[in-house]
């Protein structure tokens, strides 16, 4: 009996304490963020978890939003759609935020999109699939280049610079890979080049030798590789192990720091990359990169950069039009030529904010990235 009473007292005491807590936070403007904090997706999620916190500190240090502090409320979106959806619903129902940051995974963004429309809250997301802009959801704003922008740039590079006439494509079997493969194939077809082979592999696959052999046997003279970070690193390594000598144009995932540390200089020989932004050469990014590294002990990647920019754009909007979801939505939709850490942001009718990618390759014998060119897509 005494144990029971003690337990009851403890429970009511903690309930009172918890109920009392929100009063501290009431004065801050709360912005939601559904970020993968655990699971395989946390590899990227941690990057923008960090940069959003950095943005919060910087905004508040500079006086907040007209005197009021801003606070990011994080919910763990984990790595699958149901958890991302739950995370979004929880934030929307509990905090009723004026703005939410979604994760960088197209498949999660697609799952959450209907609820975004229902909740009428503007969101920024970093998933690249074209299916997302086809939704024509007026509340969704993409802060990374769309996959098709990157795929088109890859295809143009293969034709224009590499002068390949029989390119082959190897892609990861998901929304990103399939969408990008389709976009690349179409761009090449429009330029009169037929793709000789298009092979897919599963996201958890560890052996792509069968697919690579198929590309070799069909006579591909250049390889377009559309992958996520970890499988991309495996893919590049296996290409070299199998003795394939064709030039490779790879999508941005494999050049993130988490994947780069898995590869050796030999794996990157004859590899060209189409990435979101090369932070090392972007002058606007210098202080961000330095502060991020000092604070979090790891290198910031493109994802960290775009979410940081998104937060800064949001802060500008909050200062100018206040914490009203509809007014914020209209503000973001009208942002043009914002010079951020990750590039120039101009939101178009489909909600796409960035229209440029960077082509890089690597100094022979090293893993040092070398800037080749910036490709700006015609909007």
């Amino acid at each position: 009996m005494t144990n029971r009473k003690l337990l009851l007292k403890l429970v009511s005491a903690s309930l009172v304490a918890i109920a009392g807590m929100p009063s501290f936070a009431q004065s801050a403007i709360e912005i939601g963020a559904t970020v993968p904090l655990t699971g395989p997706a946390a590899l990227s999620g941690t990057q923008y978890h960090n940069s959003l916190r950095l943005a919060e500190e910087r905004i508040n240090k500079a006086g907040g939003i007209n005197g009021k502090p801003i606070r990011f409320v994080f919910e763990d979106a984990q790595s699958i759609n149901p958890t991302a959806l739950n995370a979004f619903m929880k934030i929307v129902q509990e905090k009723k935020p004026t703005f939410v940051f979604l994760s960088s995974y197209s498949t999660q963004n697609m799952a959450v999109a209907p609820e975004v429309l229902k909740a009428r809250v503007p969101v920024m997301y970093a998933g690249g699939a074209d299916a997302l802009q086809a939704l024509k959801n007026p509340y969704m704003f993409r802060i990374r280049p769309a996959d098709s922008t990157a795929a088109v740039a890859m295809a143009q590079f293969v034709k224009g610079t590499l002068k390949a006439t029989k390119p082959g494509i190897i892609y990861i079997q998901n929304d990103f890979g399939q969408g990008a493969a389709k976009a690349a194939t179409k761009t090449l077809a429009d330029a009169g080049i037929a793709v000789v082979a298009s092979e897919a592999y599963g996201g958890n696959d560890k052996d792509m030798s069968a697919q690579l052999l198929s590309l070799k046997n069909k006579g591909a003279d250049a390889i377009i590789a559309l992958s996520f970070p970890q499988d991309g690193a495996l893919l590049l390594r296996q290409i070299k192990t199998m003795g394939l000598k064709q030039p490779i144009v790879a999508s941005s995932g494999v050049f993130l720091p988490s994947a780069m540390q898995l590869m050796s200089a030999a794996d990157l020989e004859n590899v060209w990359g189409v990435i979101d932004v090369m932070l090392e050469t972007n002058l606007n990014a210098t202080s961000f990169v330095k502060e991020y590294k000092e604070r979090f002990r790891v290198d910031a990647d493109a994802y960290a950069a775009v979410y940081y920019d998104g937060a800064m754009i949001l802060a500008d909007g909050l200062r100018k039009v206040g914490p009203d979801p509809e007014k914020l939505r209209d503000y973001v939709a009208r942002v043009k030529n914002y010079q951020g850490v990750a590039g120039t942001f101009s939101f178009d009718d489909a909600g796409n904010g960035i229209h440029e990618v960077t082509i890089v390759n690597f100094k022979k014998g090293t893993k040092d990235m070398v800037f080749v060119s910036k490709v700006v897509a015609t909007p």
């Binding site: 699971g39 069968a210 052999l213 198929s214 690193a233 540390q261 898995l262």
Partner: protein, 291 residues
């Protein structure tokens, strides 16, 4: 022709790793009757222990491998003490759920300890390739096949021709009688767990240089090891090896000659066919009551 050689070697190398993981699984099932759903995470732990000894502690390779294997043995022993022993009187379903839970804890624990960034574990056999019949075969793949063969042979010798193996088999065949005859059954069961953990550890150390080591690698391996066990015959050691090789070859050859997008369907489809047509697998005995 050269394609076939390359694909066969890849398939057998992959199959060997699946076979080792399945062996860990089967060793436990034969000795204790427990279906260990954390088997895939055991393999992952083997790889991560290797990451600690090779990369983080920077020990010389032979010592690092031995230390990682020893750590796995200790882990198996602790697993017996912490999971099997308290649950030995519970119903099988309880134990299964417990192993599922432990598996999840191991995965998330690994995520906390080693982080979510994958590691590149260097192969003790180097990154080189041999040219056989005009195709490039990695030395690591060949070594994996060799090491698996050695481990299977060692397991066979241990179980069939050593006194330890004899008493372990006695405990597996008839637990109450073995106890009545005065055998130290607790210690012998702990040995089974340690051996299973060591086999899984080798699987992890062999697969990590091929696949990269991270906290989430266990799931894919667990599914394939499970399929291998079912195809080869639940509870049968030759079955685990045959099943593992079958799954590895089906994955690689199927991807090349049939369809790369549907290759997993081939392997799991085969598993379903076996479950329907021949549930005891290739080498298994027809289902009977376990004592």
């Amino acid at each position: 022709m050269q394609d076939l050689v390359q694909l066969l070697v890849s398939g057998v190398a992959l199959g060997s790793v699946y076979a080792l993981a399945a062996l860990g699984f089967v060793t436990i099932y034969s000795a204790t009757g427990i279906v260990n759903f954390a088997a895939g995470q055991f393999v992952m732990f083997g790889a991560m222990f290797g990451v600690t000894t090779v990369l983080q502690l920077g020990l010389p390779m032979p010592m690092a491998i031995l230390l990682a294997v020893a750590m796995m043995g200790v882990f198996g022993f602790l697993f017996y003490l912490g999971v099997h022993l308290p649950l030995r009187t519970q119903s099988p379903v309880t134990v299964v759920i417990a192993t599922v839970m432990i598996g999840l804890s191991m995965q998330n624990g690994a995520n906390l300890i080693w982080g979510s960034v994958p590691f590149r574990l260097p192969s003790p056999f180097g990154d080189g390739t041999l040219t056989v019949f005009d195709s490039a075969i990695s030395t690591h793949a060949l070594a994996s096949i060799g090491i698996t063969a050695v481990l299977v042979a060692a397991l066979y010798v241990l179980m069939q021709h050593s006194s330890l193996g004899r008493v372990m088999r006695a405990v597996a065949q008839d637990f109450p009688t073995a106890r009545l005859m005065g055998l130290p059954v607790g210690l012998l069961l702990a040995c089974s767990w340690a051996i299973a953990a060591v086999l899984a550890g080798f699987a992890g150390l062999l697969i990590a240089p091929m696949w990269f080591a991270d906290a989430h690698m266990g799931d894919a391996i667990a599914l394939k090891a499970f399929a291998a066990t079912i195809i080869g015959g639940f509870g049968s050691v030759p079955g685990a090896i045959a099943g593992g090789l079958f799954v590895g070859l089906a994955e690689i050859l199927g991807a090349s000659y049939i369809s790369s997008a549907y290759k997993d369907l081939l392997c799991f489809g085969a598993m379903v066919v076996f479950l329907v047509a021949r549930p005891q697998g290739i080498f298994g005995e027809p289902i009977s009551e376990r004592g």
